[in-house]
Structures are given as structure tokens and as C-alpha cells.
Amino acid sequence: MDNALLVGLSRQVALQRQLDVIANNLANIDTNGFKGESVQFEEYLSSPARANAFQLKDQRVSFVQDRSTLADFSQGPLTQTGNALDIAIAGPGFLAVDTPTGERYTRNGALALNPQGELVTHEGYKVLGANGPIQFDQNDTNVVIARDGSISALNSNQTVDRGKVRLVNFADTQRLTKQGASLYSSGGQQAQATTATTYIVQGSIEKSNVQPVVEMSRMIEVSRAYTTLANLLTRTDDLRNSAINKLADTSSS
């Protein structure tokens, strides 16, 4: 008899977690390079009763359990900023950045220069090129980052080469772990070069790929399902209540 309560409870816990994920997606609706997530659920079957030799087989009860969060790595919309050091990656791929905890990957292309003239993210982590960090000279102006990531600048009226942004991709992007601050760690995978279809757009930024309409409808779904379950649990409680009252109502006379 407790099964209805417990099955309902398992769904409610999963729904709460789903709302957490939706809340995180909506909170990051304006985060550059953010990739939305959805939750996957799986069925969990309770083990059958040990004595299983009844006329009617013991029904196995199934519970719900959240299994994983699945990141949606689809392209986010690009917005033009007109800033020479803002770059967006069109197509699959990541920028490699050097953090104190090792090499990390990001799709947030809002870049800047540090006082030493190195290309860094807004957190101050160095963006890695084919041969280490990308270094600019004090007199460099008119920085151009080409489609393939090669960087040139104007120095004393001469075009000088400043290296090339390293674009990488992974065999299984779902195994990347989010680290916060728009960074991913590789999860033990080897970084590969991107295919020719991936290119860089200078002067633009990739916005979050969260679709507000989808998230809002998911949220409605979650809150309705939760209400339904809450009703179910209340009914079950009523049932038990009336059973106790009725069955215990033996006349004492």
C-alpha cells in the first residue's frame, strides 16, 4: 500500500531536480557560449518479492530516477558586437585556454588582452594558440582574426602574423564536464583538430543556446506534474485515513 506514496515521491524528487536544471538554463539565458541542458530519466524496477510462487505473479513496481543531464551542444545565435577581440565559433569546436588547473575548453569568445599583451579570456586565462599563448606587441593595431583562426595585426604600417587560435573538438562531447565559468574539462579525452566546417567569426559573440519558450513550457509541465502527484499522494493518504477509521470502527458494545 505504501507503493503509491513511494512511486509518487520518486517522481517528485526527480521533478524538483528537473526544475533545478530549468532554473539554471533560464538563469544563464544571457551567458555567452552557454549550452542548455535537459534531464534524462530512467525506470527503476523494484526487486520482486522473494516468494514468487503465487497464482497471480507479484507485480513489480517501477519507480522513476533521474539518470543524467544531457547538454545540447547546438549552435547558439551570434550577435554582432563590433569588438575586434570578440570571436564566435560557428560549428562544433572549442577554444583551448590555459587555467591554473590545466587546459580547459570554452565556447565563450569574449576575449581581451592582459597588460603583457597576451590574448586572455575575461577571467584572465590565456587563450592557447598552436604554439602556446598568443602574444601581441605594444604597437599592434587593427587586430584581424581570420575565419581559420589565424591572427594578424598592423604594426608600423606592416601586417604582422601573431599566430593562430587553436580550435579543438572531442569525439564525445557529452563526456565533457562543465566546470562553471563557461569552461569545460576534457574528461580524459584527447583533443582533436576541428573539421574544416568550423570557422571563426570576428566581431561577434555566441549567445546562450537556451530557448526560453521551450524552457517555459518544460517548467509548466514540471509544475503540473508535481501538482498531479501531490494530489495523488493526498488521495492515498485519504484512503489510508478512511481505512483506519472504518476498519477500526468496531462497536465496543
Binding site: 532554473a23 544571457d30 534524462q40 533521474d66 592582459n114 597588460p115 563526456r175 493526498t234
Partner: protein, 262 residues
């Protein structure tokens, strides 16, 4: 119910976003103003099932994990140092900078500040000053009765002195540029201060080594675009109300839970 707090971080971030946008709009007519934008990043994640951990003794691994994010944070409000439009004026002392560089301003406490607002004036002693009366560095002093002031693209300041037929060189304006101009600290009054993030200033004559050139009788307008700001404002407002809806939904769910007990 983590969703409540996650949505709260989203609301706080959008509130800040609106603040930045409103400051941009308020300064739409400010000479030499550079717009800012709020930069967000996702906060940390709680790993409930870690990706790549063993799912059996046979060495099968979980291909995807269960990570719940905790919301959003603001990393900064970088300034977009793009060129503003030029507004022609009739004042010979108005200069606009085309390209990289800042005018140097000497503050009363002898600290050098930097500005892109070139609406310069003359004080009672004939010195070139900002509208706040701060001296331009290097100092330029006009003799009495100087007329026909011209400022060349390379920053040479000439004037016609009484009783002469040719222009006399009065002084030379200089500009400073930085490795990372968005790293400058804004102190209000259109002035910026050097920081560790901006790098040390490089000073030189306009038009030399990638330094910008000067345009006389022009002012650089703010680089704020009304259309961009309005659409950003709409997005921010909608994002705010959607995050508020999440708070409502989470609250509803909690209420349902509370109502289960009668």
C-alpha cells in the same frame, strides 16, 4: 529546492544587466563615452553522478553524468572601446581622436588621467584645460590675443599672434595608448585611470606608431547605439520575468508539498 536560489541568481544578474544598459542610455549624449556590457558566466555545478565513473565491475563507464548547475554570475562589465561617431562643432578647441589613444589630463593632485572627450577650453591664463578646468598634459599656453587656432592631425597647435602674418607653433598635443584599454578604471567625469590590467601608458605624438590622429572642431560622440540598447533592454526584462516565473513555480511546488499534510 535549489531552483529558487538558481532563479534568484538569474534575477540578480538581469537586474545588473538593466543597470548597465540604463547607464549606457543615460550617457548616450556624453562626449567620448564608451558603452559597457555585462558579461555572465555559469556558476559551479554539483555532480550527482559523475561522468566517466564506473557503472559496473566490467569497466563500463557512464557516458553522461548528472550535473546540476547553480545559476549564473557576473564576471565583469567590460567597456567596448570602439570608435564613436564624429559631431562637427564650431569651436576650434574641440578635438576628436580618430583611432587609438587618449588625451592626458593632469588632475589637481598631479595624477595623470586619460580621456577621449576632447571638448577643450582655455582658462583665464590662456592654458588648455578640460571643461572641469584640469590642465592638459603636456601643458599648452596660448599668448594673449592669439587667434585662428589650428590643431593639426599630428597634434601640432598653431595660432596667429597679433602683428604677425604667419602661424606660430604654440605647442604639441600628445596621446597615450594602452595595451588593454578596457582595463582602464573609469573615475567619472569622462576620465580614466591607469591600472595593472590596462598596462603602462605609451605616450607619443598623434599619428605615430599606430596612435590615432586628431580632428579639429569635431567631438567624438558616445559609441552607444540606441537600437542595440533597446533590444538588450527588452531581452534583459524578459529574462528577468522568466526567472521570476521559475521562483513562482518553485514556490507553487513547495506549497503543494506543504498542502499534502492536512
Amino acid at each position: 529546492m535549489r531552483a529558487l536560489y538558481t532563479a534568484a541568481t538569474g534575477m540578480a544578474a538581469q537586474e545588473l544587466n538593466v543597470q548597465v544598459i540604463s547607464n549606457n542610455i543615460a550617457n548616450m549624449q556624453t562626449t567620448g563615452f564608451k558603452r559597457q556590457r555585462a558579461e555572465f558566466q555559469d556558476l559551479m555545478y554539483q555532480s550527482l553522478r559523475r561522468v566517466g565513473s564506473n557503472s559496473s565491475d566490467q569497466g563500463t563507464k557512464l557516458p553522461i553524468g548528472l550535473d546540476i548547475g547553480a545559476g549564473v554570475k557576473t564576471v565583469g562589465t567590460p567597456r567596448i572601446m570602439s570608435q564613436g561617431n564624429f559631431l562637427p562643432t564650431d569651436s576650434p578647441l574641440d578635438v576628436a581622436i580618430r583611432g587609438d589613444g587618449f588625451l592626458r589630463v593632469q588632475l589637481p593632485n598631479n595624477i595623470i588621467a586619460y580621456t577621449r572627450a576632447g571638448s577643450l577650453q582655455m582658462d583665464d591664463q590662456g592654458r588648455l584645460v578640460t571643461p572641469d578646468g584640469y590642465l592638459i598634459d603636456p601643458a599648452i599656453t596660448f599668448p594673449q590675443n592669439a587667434s585662428n587656432i589650428t590643431i593639426s592631425q599630428q597634434g601640432e597647435v598653431d595660432a596667429m599672434l597679433p602683428g604677425q602674418t604667419t602661424q606660430t607653433v604654440i605647442g604639441q598635443l600628445q596621446l597615450s595608448r594602452f595595451m588593454n584599454p578596457p582595463g582602464l578604471e573609469a573615475m567619472g567625469d569622462n576620465l580614466y585611470l591607469e591600472t595593472a590590467a590596462s598596462g603602462a601608458p605609451q605616450t607619443g605624438n598623434p599619428g605615430v606608431d599606430g596612435m590615432g590622429t586628431l580632428l579639429q572642431s569635431q567631438l567624438e560622440q558616445a559609441n552607444v547605439s540606441a537600437v542595440t540598447e533597446m533590444s538588450d533592454l527588452i531581452t534583459a526584462q524578459r529574462a528577468y520575468s522568466m526567472n521570476a516565473k521559475v521562483v513562482t513555480a518553485a514556490d507553487d511546488m513547495l506549497q503543494q508539498t506543504a498542502n499534502m499534510m492536512r
